[in-house]
Symmetry: C2
Subunit: 531 residues, 2 copies
């Protein structure tokens, strides 16, 4: 091609440069854009750098650097003694014909925040791709914004965490890091931390576990999710408590599991109903304090559940999410401590003793499963961040952890009492407060869904966070709607004074009488240190 | 039942208590064990606490506390005026007949570390359960023990990380934590960090991305794994570079993908070969510095690959794992910066600039995918640990990050030069050192698999870590075995002196002449700051 061929010469008109920003980059981008969208076709001769600089009133140096970059990227090519040409590129027509869906256009941020606003071709994906499609029904709602309020659930008295101690331990770790620890670590987690967790569970929960059985996770949610990904195949039945912890259900559903809600009675999950589910080999349960009903699973029911798993060759995922909080009576042995045939996967978390955003939890696994879980976790993310594990190990080894648990138990008890003391009694259609022997929340039954919604609305208007029990049920439940109604109240998230304040506002919003509450009905307020 | 019925009376013989440990717990465990294994059957009357205390020569108080615990757990029951009996429990025979597979027996730690030693019923699981079965072939090997050595791959010059700065920023975060940040956070990650990453990518990689497109991950591995879990259905074809990054291949395979190895030539992945794979809609590539061959994907090939994804309605996962390391010439635009139809998922990591155990990486997603990825990540683990994200954001905002990148680039270049300077030239069967314009490793071809193995063995005996190129190929490759041979050398993990030392040992072990190496052949050692 001759350098003088007129149809392929380049006209710099239309290139507008903003003097306030880097000129080289702007020129580079303008030229690149023109090559990509076909305005500058292959073989077009570019002006000499001196001429283009003059045409655009910029320095020649800026043009040379932009050309260099385009050259390095293969957009243009030089011919010896013959100037600079747009290179021969494949498929540029193809690339330019389709309307961009986002990256280079003025992208609407809303596009990425609304599931409904998928581009057309992704809609096709969702319809035909189960992994994407399942997300339309199985996802966690956004965490509430703003600082914790009464009566947020799932949050301990983390305002009492010894941040100064934690800061010191963190500083100590980072000032003299063991370089060896900063490469790739063991996917099962920091060895020292695993040993300390095993010792803690042996002494506080009566579990006969070893460090080798423990796999560190990013909180309880990852532990549950790993169970789902390894033990559930698409189409498998999975038994979950109904009402129950929906985030766990979503994890099993995303793995392709078919959720079956099993009723919960005063002894825990109904094992007869469970046994009738022919295709279920996995059950997810919260025996130490059923979430959200607060029932403690009886020993008889525990043994029945273990026998079910053994008969089926199935698995029990035991989520001991607030096993540290027991206010009266002795804690029951976890299923994992009663299990004699390696069918229980025990889920523990530091999120309910320290704070949720720590994202530190663990699994205690039947020995035969440890290797599979470690392997899976390594492929998923290699391992958890190193310092959080090492600092928690030091926190435990130095005795801070046990001290903190005692402090947190006292605080939760005192906050529970503040709730009991100020709770409006005798509200029409609202059940009695249960006696709360364990955990960080309580659930009160309400006589209809309409009343639940009304009470929630009124609470919201009084800036009080109350959860509806109805949201803890599976979408397709046999239980009549009104029997799903109730109020779920977390009592640990904020200090006593804030609880008392919130109750004052709540009583007003609910039009309740100003009685002194039901504290006198609950006499089991002390002694929470069993053997 | 009468309290005097002799066949059901309890004989404390056989209970042996260690005076050095808590007596209450030992007694409780001994009794519980006997109930569970059937030695104490339902209806057996237990001795009065006073009598048992005398029989065992312990305090009555210890017995009372052990009984209380057993009572609380439902193992025993009291009958008014009639003493204490073993309770009626379901299925205890059932529970006791099966030999335990671990939890309560003297558990061999080896059981959990060898995949071959699964209990029999788990073997059945593995055969019938794809999620478990796939792990038999798709897992990462254990990371090497001990401190980093020459020539470990995948590790940057992390000995140069400003730990003192990092420690200070950590301390500052923990001393005055924003309590709101310590509850549950945004699954897509810390908002400030996402904004800073987007700004970094816009300025350093020419990407037109916004903070909303970024999802923080636990390192590149989790980013890749999320792509696999969301975009691959069981049976889907997935194209990977061959040789390539095996850990990525494993993630796609665990999601059920069928791996197809695509050859890599001097322009990058062979798009003609790719196009012939009719069932592939997803390709995983490392364009900025192919892992492990070191090829930089040409612009023409990039455009060809984008056109393929557009034609197929497919996806490209672009792993820019060491995009920060470019020593000569200008870096090419990432695929994500050239993509005009939202088909590229860009994977970035802080692990190659800071250190791997930080486990901090990110995805830059087409806007239509952001919501799906956030949702999935929330169900998988809610979000990443809070302080690492906040501290990295501060590290970037204060300018430490950009300074550190420059320091790391200089260090890697200098360590590369130490390798080039001391490399034994003229070894029989060993190819020329390539010119290394980018990245943290180099690959040298070797003429046969036997020779590769011999060189690796000799290196190991000289305490030098060299990886065989043969291990980067898919198990089933058409490429003849000898053509897969080579040496992969990471040059950044240890300082120059350690590299020089290692080369001395290596030359001796390999019987190489003591020439001055090939530095003179590689003249592109400077200028790594493009526009």
């Amino acid at each position: 091609m001759s350098p003088t061929a007129p149809p392929l010469s380049f006209n710099p008109a239309g290139i507008e440069l903003d003097r306030g920003r880097g000129l080289t980059r702007q020129l580079y981008e303008a030229l690149r854009q023109r090559v990509l969208d076909g305005r500058l076709i292959s073989g077009t001769r570019l002006p000499a750098s001196r001429d283009l600089a003059a045409a655009l009133s910029i320095s020649r140096n800026s043009v040379v650097r932009a050309y260099d970059q385009l050259y390095a990227e293969g957009f243009i090519e030089g011919r010896v003694g013959d100037g600079t040409y747009v290179a021969q590129l494949p498929s540029t027509e193809k690339l330019s014909t389709k309307v961009s869906t986002g990256l280079h256009t003025g992208l609407s941020p809303a596009l990425s925040t609304k599931w409904e606003n998928l581009p057309a071709d992704l809609d096709d994906e969702v319809i035909h791709r189960p992994a994407l499609g399942r997300l339309q029904n199985h996802y966690l709602s956004q965490p509430p914004a703003g600082p914790p309020k009464a009566f947020r659930v799932g949050v301990p008295a983390f305002d009492l965490f010894p941040f100064e101690v934690w800061a010191k331990l963190n500083g100590a770790f980072w000032r003299k890091p063991d370089l060896q620890q900063l490469c790739y670590g063991d996917p099962a987690g920091d060895g020292r931390l695993r040993g300390l967790i095993a010792a803690y569970l042996r002494s506080s929960r009566g579990m006969q576990c070893t460090a080798e059985q423990i796999v560190i996770t990013s909180g309880a949610q990852q532990a549950i999710s790993l169970c789902a990904q390894l033990l559930v195949e698409p189409g498998d039945g999975v038994a979950v408590e109904n009402p129950g912890y929906r985030a766990a259900g979503h994890a099993f559903a995303l793995a392709g599991g078919c959720l079956h809600g099993v009723p919960v009675d005063s002894d825990g999950i109904d094992c007869q109903a469970l046994d009738q589910l022919g295709d279920c080999r996995l059950a997810y349960v919260t025996p130490s304090h059923q979430y959200p009903l607060g029932v403690v699973m009886s020993l008889a029911r525990r043994l029945e559940l273990l026998a079910w798993a053994e008969r089926r060759g199935g698995w029990i995922v035991e989520d001991d999410y607030d096993g540290e909080y027991r206010y009266s009576g002795a804690p029951l042995s976890p299923l994992a401590a009663l299990d004699r045939s390696g069918r229980v996967l025990y889920v523990g978390t530091f999120g309910k003793v320290a704070f949720p955003a720590l994202r530190l939890g663990y699994l205690v696994l039947p020995p035969g499963l440890v290797d599979a879980f470690s392997r899976r976790r390594a492929v998923d993310m290699r391992h958890s961040e190193v310092s959080t594990q090492a600092v928690m190990a030091e926190f435990m080894a130095a005795g801070h952890f046990q001290r903190h648990i005692r402090r947190m138990r006292r605080a939760a008890l005192s906050r529970r009492n503040a709730l009991l003391a100020g709770w409006p009694s005798g509200l029409p259609g609202v059940g009695e407060l249960p006696s709360v022997a364990a955990g960080l929340h309580m659930t009160v039954r309400v006589d209809s869904l309409a009343r639940e919604q009304q009470l929630l609305d009124q609470a919201r208007s009084a800036d009080v966070e109350v959860n509806g029990l109805s949201s803890y049920w599976l979408a397709h439940s046999n239980t009549p709607a009104d029997q799903r109604a109730g109020l779920v109240l977390g009592f640990a998230a904020v200090p006593e004074a804030a609880i008392t304040d919130a109750l004052k506002r709540l009583r007003k919003a609910w039009g309740a009488d100003k009685q002194h509450g039901q504290l006198s009905k609950n006499s089991d307020l002390a002694s929470f240190d069993p053997i």
